[in-house]
Amino acid sequence: MNWPMTRQTNRQTNRPTSRILSQARKELVQFSRDRLTVALALILPLGMLLIYGYAIRLEAKNIPLSVQDLDRSPLSRSYVERLFATNQFIPAPLIDSSPLSSLDHGLAKATVVIPPHFSREVAEGGSQVQILVDGTDVNNARVIQNSIRGVTNFFIQSLPNSVRPEGIRARVRIWFNPGRQESLYIVPGIFGVVLWVFPSMLSAIALVREKEQGTAIQVYASDLSSTEWLLGKGLAYWLVAVAEAAVVMGVSGLLFGLRLQTGPFPLLLGTGIYLAAAVSFGLFVGARTGNQNGAVQGTAIVGFLTSFLLSGFIYRLENIPFPLSLISNIIPARYYILLTRDAFVRGAGWAGIWFVLPILALQGFVLFKLASKIMQSMQLSE
């Protein structure tokens, strides 16, 4: 009945890495048993990828445009055809023969008024076309204004030489994304958001759950150090995050036609470091909070707001006003997005992005150190 009570004297011979690995192994087993968490870890990021990938379109398309052609000449008709040939506009009806009515009714975002003697005046050297633009949406108004201007210039250039005014011709060629496929711009940005928010949320929950359910007490009652504990947890959730990254990037390749434009090393290395930083951020939040609710809110709200708004994902970093712009400098997603856009769109390689890796590594290290510092005493807080 009795078991041998010979006490182990060689306890110290166990390498610290084996404790970290056993911690990580336990986390992974626990994670895989909890079907809901597994589903959340893989399905939510995919859902977000699909929603953002398909829903966010910054390009202005299908703008309703009404035309009042008072000239009705072949020239005016070819001008109107040219306007709609851009595919940017769709025809909207003109109401009550008044250029303003269709704007007032919200049926058109812009109206073009072609004067009665348009073709004659063009032939004589110059005419004026009136363009009324709905300025409610400031951004779109500018897009409409520019694009009608562009079409008009193009139209003028296509006229017989006799009437064309002399000037400098700009020949534009689009570099990096020749088809101007917008998803190529958006989707790599989504990686920055998704691969920050979900890894940090999962690791924060994993840490807080132990505090909430009291299993942390058993850990405190052993002599495991906070660094060992957090490294073990972090390692497990880093592996989960790598799986998430593989799924998200793989699906993007299938659905949005994303292809690597350069060698894979900057992306692989950078993603690994970025995920480690995200997991460290989760551990930091988990160390600070005492309940799962706080952990989810902390990682989701802070993660979303910063990686969405202050990272250059959608809004140009240069547009962020002064004190806020300082914050954007410490947002890891800002640097990671440079890297993903390079890998999938620009393909310029190390030259433009080498600094991203040391910055991300430093940020991850600082976050991990902070988390480890908070948990340092490995005791119950009062």
Binding site: Q8, R11, K26, Q213, Q218, V219, L224, M378
Partner: protein
């Protein structure tokens, strides 16, 4: 002081050469709240040391400091001759919630704990196999922790604490919410662990468990009030207990209660149970004659008197009363007229006739037949999974029965109807109060649930507040109330509509003895007003409060009757043995009789024998043959717990 202990083992002389735990002047403060105000005690190697006390007395804080997971505010603590944090790898710590990972299997939980505590991989396999075999968990090493019963979880947690071969085990209420059979098994295992030289410190709300410790400390209000062996504590109380059994128990109680409140009387305290009264007195002879005299004056039937030792609960309650810890008792002001018991005495409130419930293939309840009359407290007892909760759910109409008939308040059809349900009250295991609502908001919610007319709301709520002593605190958050108070509010909420029939499902789990005693007084008041009460409980001492009891095993009722009848129906005799080698004697006896018949209580053995005249002689001879000296032996009366365990074990032997 600490320095001398660092050299423990080599130290010569001294009164306690190498105390496993030495605590001096321990203080702990959380903000403005003083949890511990100067605690001193020491525990010797190989001792089982019990810590008992009401909720919030400072037990958990003490354990957390001993385990090194919390800093003390001041005072000296030495564990195994070291500060607690340095001793962490040599101690095992078991918390109330067992600290298991629900999603990990038995083996994975063990392996993780072994990894935390630096158990070499080579040793792990042997130790795990041995521990699991010892705890009876080896058949299913891959079952997930969340699929285990409460008793099995607790054994697994013990395995986890023992995997690193600690020299000290700290157990913080390890058996709360676990059924009696598992509890007794657990303590038998602990006795074995202690015999191997591991020191055990355990806190428990179950006073019968505390009796199994070598020494007991009573902690209250952050101080240790008393410390000693059970016999020392009993002697310290200097009171004897007289059990009074009479036919007209209510009238007898009223007469004796009057005497207790008189200073000149020899009767010091009276406690009422289901079919008996307990009197505490410093002088048995004087008290007996006083009782007989009082009863004779009132022309009542002569009661049967039996003198006994005071229980640990008597010690506990008497001591706390001296400290003024006893909450003031207020009777429930009834709005309804009491039922005329004489005419309706025979009327059956709850009845079940061959009730059955199957969940798929599994038969949870088999042929349960019972009847509860108005004014009666009926207890349903059983281990986890015996079918108690299923039965109570069927009876109060929450679950349809697979087969069999039942009636509630005279109705047999459509028991789910609002008219029937409005006459029922139900309080479940977890007090169904919302922690994040105030007390008043909770009570208002239940007024709505029980469709009490709007104009009566205020009156009823004031009534509950008054009874709970919470007037003026009704806007406090319910979550901030201590367990005992919360339970009274929950009880108040479930009886606000003055039900004729009351179902209580484990109403007192995790509530300390004082609050529990108050609570039963309240239930008795209700029963006297004519309410039929059906209660399930794990807590067998408390089952003494029931008028009638039924034991359930595997979905069947195996014994029924008053507490006295059930104890009397137990075959055989309980014998207490004091031997020189308790653990060896226990191991030896367990080879000769079924293991459940032998258990260790501190330095004594309890032995249940069906025919002591024939069996005892040979057993004692075999002990003496193994050079175990027998210092004392005497017969003891069965407790309800002994009866319960005996009944359950015999039932399981018949149908394994």
């Amino acid at each position: 002081m600490v320095d001398s202990f660092l050299a423990h083992g080599t130290e010569a002389g001294g009164s306690a050469p190498s105390a496993t735990i030495r605590v001096q002047g321990l203080h702990k403060q959380y903000g403005a709240v003083k949890a511990l105000c100067g605690i001193d005690f020491s525990v010797s190697p190989g001792e089982i040391f019990g810590l008992i006390g009401p909720d919030g007395a400072g037990k958990t804080t003490t354990f957390q400091i001993l385990a090194g997971v919390m800093e003390a505010s001041s005072g000296e603590v030495s564990v195994l001759g070291q500060p607690p944090r340095e001793a962490r790898l040599n101690l095992g710590y078991l918390t109330q919630a067992f600290s298991l990972y629900a999603d990990l299997s038995i083996l994975e939980n063990l392996r993780y704990q072994a990894g935390l505590r630096k158990v070499p991989q080579a040793d792990f396999r042997d130790r795990a196999t041995e521990l699991l075999a010892r705890m009876g968990l080896s058949q299913f090493p891959n079952r997930l922790a969340r699929q285990l019963s409460g008793g099995m979880k607790q054994k697994l947690a013990l395995c986890c604490a023992l995997i690193a071969q600690p020299r000290l085990l700290l157990l913080d209420e390890p058996t709360t919410g676990v059924d009696p059979v598992s509890r007794r098994e657990f303590w038998d295992l602990l006795a074995g662990v202690a015999a191997d030289g591991v020191t055990v410190v355990a806190a428990t709300p179950y006073l019968d468990e505390a009796e199994r410790c070598n020494r007991i400390a009573l902690i209250y209000d952050g101080k240790i009030q008393q410390i000693g062996t059970l016999a020392e504590l009993q002697a310290d109380l200097a009171l004897h207990r007289i059990e009074v059994r009479a036919d007209a128990l209510g009238e007898t109680e009223a007469v004796l209660q009057g005497a207790v409140s008189r200073a000149s009387s020899a009767l010091v305290d009276l406690q009422s149970f289901g079919d008996r009264l307990d009197i505490l007195t410093p002088n048995v002879a004087q008290a007996k004659s006083e009782i007989l005299q009082l009863v004779d004056q009132q022309k009542l039937a002569i009661p049967r008197l039996e003198a006994n030792e005071p229980t640990l609960e008597n010690v506990f309650v008497s001591h706390l009363r001296q400290q003024g810890a006893d909450p003031i008792y207020r009777a429930f002001p009834f709005y309804r007229k009491p039922k005329a018991l004489s005419t309706e005495a025979a009327a059956v409130a709850i009845s079940a006739d061959r009730l059955q419930k199957c969940f798929g293939e599994f038969q949870a309840v088999k042929d349960v037949t019972l009847a509860v009359r108005y004014g009666e407290i009926y207890g349903l007892l059983g281990a986890n999974g015996a079918g108690k909760t299923t039965t109570i759910k069927m009876l109060c109409g929450l679950l349809p029965a697979t087969q069999g008939g039942m009636s509630l308040a005279g109705e047999t059809q459509n028991l789910h109807r609002a008219e029937v349900r409005s006459r029922l009250g139900y309080m479940s295991q977890k007090f169904t109060l919302y922690d994040d609502l105030t007390i008043r908001q909770n009570l208002e919610f239940y007024c709505g649930v029980y469709s009490i007319p709007q104009k009566l709301h205020r009156e009823k709520i004031d009534w509950v507040l008054e009874t709970c002593g919470l007037v003026g605190r009704e806007n406090q958050m319910t979550g901030s109330l201590p367990g005992g108070w919360k339970q009274r509010v929950a009880f108040g909420a479930s009886v606000m509509h003055e039900p004729d029939i009351l179902f209580l499902d484990e109403p007192t789990s995790g509530v300390d003895p004082l609050a529990r005693r108050q609570f039963w007084r309240l239930i008795r008041d209700f029963a006297r007003q004519g309410t039929a009460v059906l209660v399930t409980t794990h807590y067998l001492e408390e089952a003494e409060n029931c008028n009638r009891l039924a034991f359930m095993v595997a979905g069947e009722i195996v014994a029924e009757g008053s507490p006295t009848q059930i104890k009397a129906a137990q075959p055989g005799q309980l014998i207490e043995l004091v031997t020189a080698h308790t653990q060896r004697a226990s191991d030896l006896l367990r080879q000769q009789v079924e293991p459940w018949r032998v258990s260790i209580f501190g330095d004594r053995l309890h032995l249940v024998l069906d025919c002591p005249e024939q069996e005892l002689g040979p057993l004692i001879q075999s002990l003496q043959g193994a050079q175990i000296e027998i210092r004392a032996q005497r017969p003891l009366p069965f407790t309800l717990e002994d009866a319960f365990i005996g009944t359950v074990q015999r039932a399981e032997e018949v149908s394994p």
